[in-house]
Amino acid sequence: MVDRNLSNSPEFLQERVSYLEESNQRFMSILEMLASSSEFQGDLSRAKDGAGIFKATASQLRRLFSFQSMGFLDSQFDGSFELVVADPPGAFDILQSQVEARMMDGTFAWALNRNQAVLAPMENGETLLLQVVATQSCVRGMFAGTLPGSSAALDGASLNALSIVLYTCAYALESTILYGMLHDHTQHLEERVQLRTRDLEEARRQAEAANLAKSDFLANMSHEIRTPMNGVMGMTELMLQGGLTPQKEKKYLRAIKDSADSLMLIINDILDFSKIEAGKFTLEKVPFNLRDVVERCLGGLLIRCEEKGLGLTSRIDLAVPACLVGDHGRLRQVLTNLVGNAVKFCQQGRITVEVDLDSRETDDVTLHVRVTDTGIGIAEEACERIFNQFEQADTSTTRKFGGTGLGLAICKKLVALMDGDIWVESRLGEGSCFHFTARFQVGSEELLAADKDLSPDSSQPGQVPLDILLADDVEINRALVQAVLEPYHHRITFAEDGRKAYDQYRSGHFDIVLMDVQMPEMDGLQSARAIREYERAIGRSAPVPIVAMTAFAGNEDRQICLDAGMDDYLSKPVKPAQLLQLLNRFCERRTTSAVAVTEIAPPASIPKSAPDELDDSIEIFDQKELLERLGGRSEMVPRFIGLFCKGVLPQLEGLATSLEAEDPEAVRRHAHAIKGSAGNIAAQRIHQMAAMIEKTAKEGDLTETPQRFAMLQLEYSAFIEAVGALGFIAET
């Protein structure tokens, strides 16, 4: 060591030179070692994990310093440190215990914060050096090394070299972690790409298949549309040629009507489907009586059933609320489609419709509807496919049974709009059961009463003659409306477009305006607006009711009409009953004659509770109601009555037998069947009597049944007599 007292002596100078040489050598060797650290770099890049990096660093440090032992601690996720590498390996335990002691006395924590070497003397006289391994952002670990004696440990240059090596170590650790993350990420990415490619392939395949199906469909539809059109055109040609007998003419007209009807079905299907596809479809939200809707739907299909000799029954669970809020029209559409299909594909047996409560929340209910038939059944593999658009179970059915094949696809979409599902259980040759669920809000009886205008009551007693302005550019449309209204002695003024309608209105006086919306020159909306403005200008206090007649009858279109100043709308083609009812509604406000606008229940309906004796007011045969059911086709009545008799006689026999056998369940069954048929034919008294028998039989009580049965038979005879008197000879 330098002795300053002899600062100028040769010994001093010698010592000084010696020191300077040694220092210089030390600096040079450190620099050289740091500069030629390619082995170190190589080891670092090859290292796969933290331990590898630590080992490489330890070798590098060994070249620089004479540590007796070295160790590295790795920082863990929870903030603790664990000794992972010791060099020589035998020194692991000693180093471990030393480091732990430093953790206890706070030196370790101090070293973490100091970011430079911290020395701690050991009991055996050696010195422990702790230095943190950290980048600017993060502490990665701690280096611990032991040095002999209580040396100053390291000179300035060596300390700097140590820091450099430990920095390199820290950054290598960071890189490894980042590389690891990158590798994982890349792999994950590759997997996802593979998955996506598969998905894409699948989607492409499906799109191609769908496209093919669509083209097939178009080809089929071409045929389905042309055939009835040809029928219409052919028949009209023949009729125009003239020289036909009235019967022939009627026959041809019937054929034209049938063709038009089936064409209408197809067109409706296609339009419905397109509208739903385009997303331009909203469900209505009106209160309705479920039982009424089901009854009416089945009633419409009854004829076809009876023609084919199929039974058609329905059952609605008592738990289902009477009044619901939703789109009853679409519900009916789905039901009609399913039951219609059942009729189509069923040659014998019966079709049953059942409605149960699937679930109930405070304001909502979910219904579960089942339509079961004993028809030809559906192959298992087709059960899902048939709900796809443009597909029927097998292409031969299109040719055999006709139709667009869109029915079930439309049902599926409608049901989905009603938050439900639709599916089928079936086996070839064993019939099918179609299920669907739908959600509705629960309504209340008052709502029902207030909104009820469902029953197209065609008979309007005491209709006052009105001045009606009718605007429509199509002659046949004008003629149709005229034909409906004339029997009621209304005075109709015609206009061919909106402008003429407006002019007519100004020059005349009208009770109501029926305005077609689509017209040339000036359309219905513009005309309505013009009329309203005129009324405002002249200060007319009571604006005239304007009713739109439009082919577009969705909610949005209705709103457009209302915004233009119209009061209501009728959808085309216009149903006579609806038109009449509407006239009634609007003009009742202006006329003082007491016309019953809404009737809660149609007259002569069956009282809900069965009294002990039959009320005399109940008719034997309600001809009016039957005619309504048959859509006015009175020529069908004889045939229908014949069918009724054919069906009821065996049931009466069966009832007698079960009564003798004292079998309440059998009695109930027969009575139920008789009740149903009688209801359909409007044989009200038979219906009522059968209902009473059914009721007590259900409770197991057959005491009064023999008398009632006798009365039933009397009623049946009375019915036959009554229809005979009316001129309806039962066709057998």
Partner: protein, 291 residues
């Protein structure tokens, strides 16, 4: 203005004159060499310091002050060496002796109490900023802060009347002292101070920040440290933590601020931590100023 008939005031001249009057404490060079000698031990190093009792006392008090976060009691210099580190202790020792170097400065020219208070504050704040940024060798910043305005002392010693003139001009015009220096002398006290430190063979890691602290862009090697001292000085001037010749607040150099990459919010935290340290350190260092 009366620049008088004195020899022209160049930096070299001023430094030359000052270093004949004032010199670094003897221990510094010895300590530096011992630390750098490959074969010296902790005891060797400790011995040099303990020869100076006053310095020992001051160092031990510093080692046990809030500056080092009250980590275990440091009872001996040897312990201080191991805990604080050899080079760091050397820098700390230098900082602890600087106040005793400059004596006999006229009070009306430069209030030394206030001056040193400013320097200590600057050193503490610069050190705290460095600790926050996890820099190593934070003691370096402390001593650089202590020495950053030493150029003002040099001028006051070598050319007191120029110093007086500049102070008057500052009072009259309201301009910054440092700008007046540049205008009248062609250099400022930072450059002057840096030159003196170089003469004293103080490492560039301390010397350059001092020389460039009013012109951070001119630093070549130690740009980060320079920016730290620059910022610390401005903070001290704004918060009026003591003062030297400068009465105003120098402008903040934007590139230096950007280099530091700090948010204004953290300044509040750092300031809070530094305040307690400043007062205690001042009392420790001024207490043994004559020792």
């Amino acid at each position: 203005m009366a620049m008088s008939d004195y020899p022209p005031a160049t930096i070299e001249r001023l430094v030359e004159e000052t270093s004949t009057v004032y010199s670094l404490p003897l221990f510094y060079e010895r300590l530096n060499e011992t630390i750098n000698h490959p074969r010296s031990s902790i005891d060797d190093i400790s011995k040099i310091i303990t020869e100076d009792q006053g310095l020992t006392a001051r160092l031990l008090r510093l080692a046990n002050s809030p500056m080092f976060g009250c980590y275990a009691k440091v009872e001996s210099i040897a312990k201080a060496v191991t805990i604080i580190g050899t080079q760091q202790l050397r820098d700390l020792a230098l900082a602890a002796s600087v106040m005793g170097v400059f004596k006999g400065i006229p009070e009306d020219l430069l209030n030394m109490t206030s001056f040193w208070r400013h320097c200590i504050a600057c050193g503490i704040i610069a050190r705290s900023l460095a600790v926050y940024r996890r820099e190593s060798n934070v003691e370096r910043l402390f001593v650089a802060g202590m020495l950053h305005d030493v150029g003002q002392v040099v001028l006051a010693t070598a050319r007191p009347e120029v110093s007086r003139e500049l102070l008057e001009a500052q009072r009259d015009t309201g301009m910054l002292y440092l700008h007046l220096e540049r205008e009248r002398l062609g250099f400022d006290h930072a450059e002057l101070g840096g030159a003196l430190l170089k003469k004293w063979k103080i490492p560039a890691s301390i010397g350059e920040p001092v020389a460039c602290h009013h012109n951070p862009g001119s630093a070549e090697q130690f740009r980060l440290e320079t920016a730290l001292i620059h910022l610390a000085d401005i903070i001290c001037q704004s918060m009026e933590l003591g003062h030297g010749a400068e009465a105003g607040v120098p402008p903040l150099d934007e590139p230096a601020w950007d280099r530091l990459g700090m948010s204004p919010q953290m300044l509040g935290t750092v300031l809070k931590q530094s305040e307690s340290q400043i007062n205690e350190t001042f009392s420790i260092l001024s207490g043994g100023a004559d020792g």
